[in-house]
């Protein structure tokens, strides 16, 4: 190559580099073209956990909104959603299909603890980002160093349980605690957080813990045992349906313990469903980190207004369903990362930004919460606020509690 040709080539490369900020001509990794970024997702849109399926549609609604504003540096996001029915046996082939046939740039917001665990090794071997998985299982933040292509987003379950432990120790120091938990990684994660958080008080305060299987018709038997063991404080570490059932059954037993409900089931719609079935849940405690669309205090909030504008892009999404604002909020973080990556849209760079350089104020999260990662901390959200159910709605209590650094 002569010097003149080399100069011309250099000019072309520079032109290409400049062009990428407004249109882009250089594809920098699999799944990226001059005008498109391809993301993949698996989620349960049918099956036992189908209620979560709307999250992916809400995420797509945010991407549609961003695309309508010109996309990210001229590239539009294309989002491929596949239904794994909450069944890891389906998550694996569907994820391989997205990676090998669709050639996605990254997997985004795949849902389910077992499901996402089942593809973690594969995605890490293939060096495909598994970003912002929709599960609070502590392992997705804690074990980052052995899975550098995987990252969670929502607060880890153990951190949430630590907050409950603090609340109990402070407000009910003589509580006799009964725990109902799902007999898998998710339920045990919550239980471990509670035991760790109570410290040396755990063995005396927890009078009994009973597990249930997702396949059982009702947790009535387990709750009767907790009642008989004399518990006056009940933790319900359960997905939505058994949670609703539990709340109704507890009242049915003429029992009025202090009730803690985990964040994965505390959507206001479900709490109201429990009330309609006879449950007396005034005073129930949970935590929140996302703005509740049904809470009137956010009516004139800019973030909530933006959410309502965004969610209008999804015809099947109920704007008042808390799962949808979750989807929009996590999609916001994804767009944030891709925007920061700018013209360096390689999988490695995107992963680096997501796992160690996040410092985001997300308009859909409670004021004061930041989405943060550093080279030594890979839990993006670690702040939550205690909420209490009174008069048909959740009410924020106290101030934001920061659990950063408490999970070793």
């Amino acid at each position: 190559m002569g010097p003149r040709l080399a100069a011309a080539a250099a000019f072309l490369v520079m032109a290409g580099a400049c062009g990428s900020s407004s249109g882009g001509t250089v594809a920098t990794d699999v799944g990226i073209t001059s005008n498109q970024i391809l993301l993949g997702n698996t989620i349960s849109q049918t099956g036992a956990a189908a209620a979560y399926g709307t999250i992916a549609n809400a995420e797509n609604a945010y991407f549609t909104y961003i695309n309508s504003k010109g996309g990210i540096n001229g590239r539009k996001i294309k989002f491929v959603i596949l239904d794994d029915a909450y069944n890891p046996a389906q998550t694996v082939p569907l994820t391989k299909q997205l990676v090998e046939q669709n050639q996605v740039f990254a997997m985004f917001s795949g849902l389910g603890t077992q499901d996402q665990t089942s593809v973690r090794d594969y995605l890490n071997t293939q060096k495909v980002p598994q970003l912002f998985v929709a599960t609070g299982a502590t392992t997705f933040g804690k074990d980052f160093n052995s899975n550098k292509w995987t990252l969670g987003w929502q607060p880890p379950y153990q951190g949430e349980s630590h907050i409950y432990a603090k609340d109990v120790l402070q407000n009910h120091p003589n509580a006799k605690i009964g725990v109902l938990y799902q007999n898998d990684d998710y339920g045990q994660d919550y239980l471990k957080g509670l035991i760790d958080g109570l410290g040396d008080k755990a063995s005396t305060m927890i009078v009994d813990k009973e597990s249930y299987d997702v396949t059982s018709a009702s947790p009535a038997s387990q709750l009767a045992i907790l009642h008989a063991k004399g518990a006056d404080t009940v933790f319900v570490f359960a997905i939505p349906k058994p949670t609703i059932q539990s709340l109704a059954i507890i009242t049915g037993l003429h029992w009025a313990p202090t009730i803690y409900v985990n964040s994965v089931s505390n959507v206001a719609t479900y709490m109201k469903l429990a009330e309609k079935s006879g449950a007396k849940i005034d005073g129930a405690i949970s935590v929140g980190y996302i703005k509740d669309p049904t809470d009137p205090q956010w009516t004139n909030d800019d973030g909530m207004k933006l959410y309502r504008q965004v969610i209008a892009n999804c015809s099947t999404c109920d704007a008042n369903n808390g799962f949808n604002i979750y989807g929009v909020a996590v999609a916001y973080t994804m767009v944030d990362v891709l925007t920061q990556a700018g013209s360096n849209l390689s999988r490695a760079n995107v992963m680096k930004i997501a796992s160690s350089q996040l410092n985001e104020t997300n308009p859909f999260l409670l004021p004061g919460i930041t989405v943060t990662t550093t080279s030594g901390d890979h839990f993006p959200i670690m702040q939550e606020q205690v909420i209490q159910w009174t008069g048909d709605a959740w009410h924020l209590q106290g101030s934001i509690i920061n659990e950063r650094g408490t999970i070793k």
């Binding site: 299987d213 038997s221 387990q222 045992i225 469903l273």
Partner: protein, 293 residues
């Protein structure tokens, strides 16, 4: 003692749920000598129909009989359209067809009605009453009472009417029945219609407790199988007794057997099925098994 009583009562309550669906399984077995794996899904779908009717403003007491009637016709239509072409096929073919039907109906329900759990109205109060210090809800007791009424009706129909006799004959010995002038194929269809109607009653009764969604009956049907097998799969009374025994056994095993807890409840149900088939294949009230001719 109070804990024991509470576990027994709560077991009887779950047992009532299993019994109500087991009755439908017994009916279909009496009609075609086979169980219908889609029974639970058909019951769920009928419940969604009732839910839709009530949601459109129809009175509960009009929606209930109307849904049962629709379920009856629906059961007959399914038999005519889906089962009849394979009526004389090997048993395995029929089993696979009903399994496919279960998946199809589940998917259709998800498509039409979505997967959010919904509160279904109940004619019984959500209040509970004390029985020697243990609590039982009116809803639970109502499910058992309704199962009892359905049991009596099914029993009278099968044992005391000519149609019932013809149905049983058609299932036991189709060739001989045909020679006697019984329209065997229509007896099968009638069996499907009746089982579907009984299933609809079951779905409508248990929906206020289990919350209505497409997967509502998926685990119930396994316990219902255990109940029907335990009671003797041909016997309606056996199904109800079997249901109550399964409900109570599962609870007591979970409470008092070390290591069972809440995790292995389903395993207890399967253990009951296996134990009955090994030790007493005819169940508690069933007659000696006969081969399909």
């Amino acid at each position: 003692m109070q804990e024991f009583l509470q576990q027994v009562l709560s077991g009887i309550a779950s047992g009532g749920i299993y019994a109500s669906l087991a009755l439908a399984l017994v009916l279909i077995y009496n009609a075609m000598g086979l169980v219908n794996f889609a029974q639970g899904e058909m019951a769920m779908f009928a419940t969604f129909l009732a839910f839709t009717l009530i949601g459109r403003g129809m009175d509960y007491w009009i929606a209930l009989p109307l849904t049962i009637a629709i379920a009856f016709v629906g059961g007959i239509v399914i038999q005519r359209v889906v089962i009849r072409p394979v009526e004389r096929a090997p048993v395995l073919t029929l089993v696979i067809v009903t399994l496919g039907l279960a998946t199809l109906i589940n998917g259709l329900a998800g498509f039409f009605f979505g997967y959010l759990p919904r509160l279904f109205p109940s004619p019984f109060s959500v209040q509970t009453i004390d029985i020697f210090g243990a609590a039982a809800s009116w809803q639970d007791l109502g499910v058992i009472a309704v199962s009892g009424v359905v049991l009596v009706l099914v029993f009278l129909m099968l044992q005391r009417t000519t149609v019932g006799l013809a149905m049983r004959a058609a299932a036991h010995n189709p060739e001989a029945s045909r020679l006697l002038g019984i329209r065997v194929s229509w007896m099968l269809a009638l069996g499907w219609g009746l089982a579907s109607a009984v299933g609809a009653v079951s779905g409508i009764m248990v929906a206020p407790i289990l919350y209505l969604e497409p997967n509502m009956m998926q685990t119930v049907i396994i316990y219902a199988f255990a109940a029907a097998v335990l009671g003797g799969i041909e016997s309606p009374l056996g199904a109800v007794i079997g249901g109550l025994i399964v409900g109570v056994t599962v609870n007591l095993a979970g409470t008092y057997l070390p290591g069972v807890g809440g995790d292995l409840q389903l395993a207890v149900a399967f253990a009951i099925i296996i134990a009955v088939l090994v030790i007493r294949p005819n169940g508690l009230l069933g007659r000696r098994a006969m081969r399909r001719a």
